[in-house]
């Protein structure tokens, strides 16, 4: 018999309001309905009422986690429209900030993924090492989030020479910890059991649904704007695109973890190669015309389109964000798995079954298992899983 398990719009562990309707048969998810729009604030409507230089602050607030990617794509679009390029130093600064943001975003996801499978240790550890990064943002840009570094024709703030050692120091710490997380997560039988072969999105489905970013790269579909259509400093530094063919949640986690190493590599090279010079070029007016900007946000390609009529405001501004495509692919990824796995597959959502550790079993009106019995059962199960995965 089919039943419906509603998740949202205000679900305990869900950060954002969104509504998923899981259609289940017993424990198995057979279908998914997605209802979004709780967060609609009308950015594209507000944008033409602001001047060119005010819009970056608006698009920054589309998403707080990708708050560098949207203004980045927007300034690239306006620069394309006005036929200007940012001075080399500004290009490097923007690249550095974009990569630091990628690390921050991947860590955030990793922590929350740990939280969703009820493994709060992962969450606490990962977020602990995210904190110094936020301090770094505060040092470079003056705010922990919403950095406002992108400006049409350049960057708003310089990265000072005296800040380099602090950044380097953090990168060293991060590299060490990232190694630790990678080996800890890929070695943990419980995490492997929860992530491996769960939520598989095949390569064909990934292409059919037009998914982007780590979701696509985790399904062996290697697309990355930074490689395919390099901008700013991305073609001047050496880095690799990470892709895994399996398509399960583990592959996506691996993509994200290893991408952090690549980001560290990019930031190090940028800091070393950063030329001296001005950080912004003078922009007098935006001529009539249109332009596009693409940037690889932590979640995939962000695309901005602007049209100008020569006035001080855009007359049209279109935003295409990656999550819209990625969310739609949940419909195939979640089918056939159990409700408990759905939490993880939907990733941003948690139906709270997996953190229900206070189970009680009653038989003939009598409590069957005590707390100790449950603990023993859980240990036995972990041992069983460990044997299977460790061989």
């Amino acid at each position: 018999m089919r039943r419906v398990v509603p998740i949202g719009p205000y679900h305990p562990l869900q950060e954002e309001p969104e509504f998923f309707k899981l259609i289940v048969e017993g424990e198995k998810v057979v279908d998914l309905e997605i209802n979004i729009g709780y967060n609609h604030r009308g950015h594209e409507f507000i944008s033409p009422t602001l001047t060119w230089d005010q819009v970056p602050f608006l698009v920054e607030r589309i998403c707080g986690i990708c708050s560098d990617s949207h203004p980045y794509a927007y300034v690239l679009a306006v620069e394309d429209c006005a036929h200007i390029t940012a001075p080399p130093r500004a290009q490097y600064i923007r690249t550095i900030v974009a990569e630091l943001e990628r690390i921050h975003s991947h860590y955030l996801w990793l922590g929350l993924a740990g939280h969703f499978i009820g493994y709060n240790t992962v969450w606490m550890w990962v977020w602990r090492y995210r904190e110094p990064l936020l301090d770094l943002f505060e040092l470079i840009m003056g705010n922990r989030n919403h950095y406002a570094i992108n400006k049409i024709g350049g960057a708003r703030r310089d990265i000072l020479q005296e800040d380099h050692p602090k950044i380097e120091k953090y990168l060293d710490l991060l590299e060490e910890k990232n190694k630790m997380f990678t080996s800890a997560i890929l070695d943990d039988p419980v995490i492997l059991a929860r992530l491996e072969n769960v939520g598989i999105l095949s390569n064909e489905e990934a292409i059919a649904y037009g998914v982007l970013g780590p979701t696509a790269r985790g399904s062996g579909y290697a697309i990355d704007v930074r490689k395919d259509d390099p901008f700013d400093a991305y073609d001047k530094v050496d880095w690799n695109m990470i892709a895994f063919p399996e398509g399960d949640v583990l592959a996506k986690a691996k993509v994200r973890l290893i991408e952090c190493f690549e980001s560290i590599k990019i930031v190090r090279q940028c800091l070393k190669d950063m030329p001296d010079g001005p950080i912004e070029s003078r922009v007098d007016e935006i001529p009539p015309g249109e332009g596009i900007g693409r940037h690889e946000a932590p979640r995939g390609e962000v695309f901005h389109y602007v049209r100008s009529d020569g006035s001080n405001k855009p007359i049209r501004h279109k935003v295409r964000a990656p999550s819209y495509m990625n969310i739609a692919s949940n419909v195939v990824a979640v089918k056939g798995y159990s409700i408990a796995d759905a939490a993880l597959v939907l990733a941003a959502v948690d139906p709270c079954y997996c953190c229900t550790d206070r189970t009680m079993v009653y038989e003939n009106g009598k409590r069957k298992y005590s707390g100790q019995d449950l603990l023993r059962l859980s240990h036995e199960k972990t041992e069983k899983i460990r044997r299977r995965y460790r061989k």
């Binding site: 719009p9 205000y10 305990p12 562990l13 950060e15 954002e16 309001p17 729009g37 709780y38 967060n39 609609h40 604030r41 009308g42 409507f45 507000i46 009422t49 602050f57 608006l58 607030r61 589309i62 998403c63 707080g64 986690i65 708050s67 955030l108 922590g111 969450w123 606490m124 977020w127 602990r128 904190e131 922990r144 989030n145 919403h146 709270c352």
Partner: protein, 138 residues
């Protein structure tokens, strides 16, 4: 009963997090509060999973046409007295979304907000201070 609840509330406020149309940053900073750096659980502030267990609501983001009825419903489900703490500039003055067609206006038209914490996003220290101020009002 009322006194007992008030005593419990002051001692250990259980908070429920409601994201209206926010940009996520305020929400992340709220989650940051329970991670090791800030760790507000040592003050007895616990993030709970149901509005029915909540002593305080942490609201973030602007209200829009679609989520307004849901946010009000969450508020109705909370046992009273329930503090409402508005986090971020979005809750204080609808931020830069005031001119949008979908935003229904400031919070105090719909909800009795006790404390507003400005900032975009406010720093975790500011949030802790805000919660303390809200508790002092009781």
């Amino acid at each position: 009963m009322g006194n007992a609840k008030l005593w419990g509330l002051k001692k250990s406020p259980w908070v429920f997090h409601v994201a209206a149309a926010s940009c996520n940053n305020c929400d992340i900073e709220i989650l940051d509060l329970i991670t090791p750096r800030w760790d507000v659980e040592r003050f007895g502030i616990v993030l709970v999973g149901s509005p029915r267990h909540a002593d305080a609501l942490l609201v973030t983001g602007v209200l829009n046409r679609k989520n307004l009825p849901r946010v009000l419903r969450v508020y109705e489900q909370t046992p009273k007295p329930c503090l409402v703490i508005g986090i971020g500039s979005c809750t204080c003055h609808t931020h830069m979304f005031e001119s949008s067609y979908n935003v229904v206006g400031p919070y105090d038209k719909y909800l009795p907000v006790d404390v507003y914490i400005p900032g975009c996003p406010p720093k975790p220290e500011a949030m802790i201070l805000g919660i303390v101020k809200a508790l002092k009002r009781l």
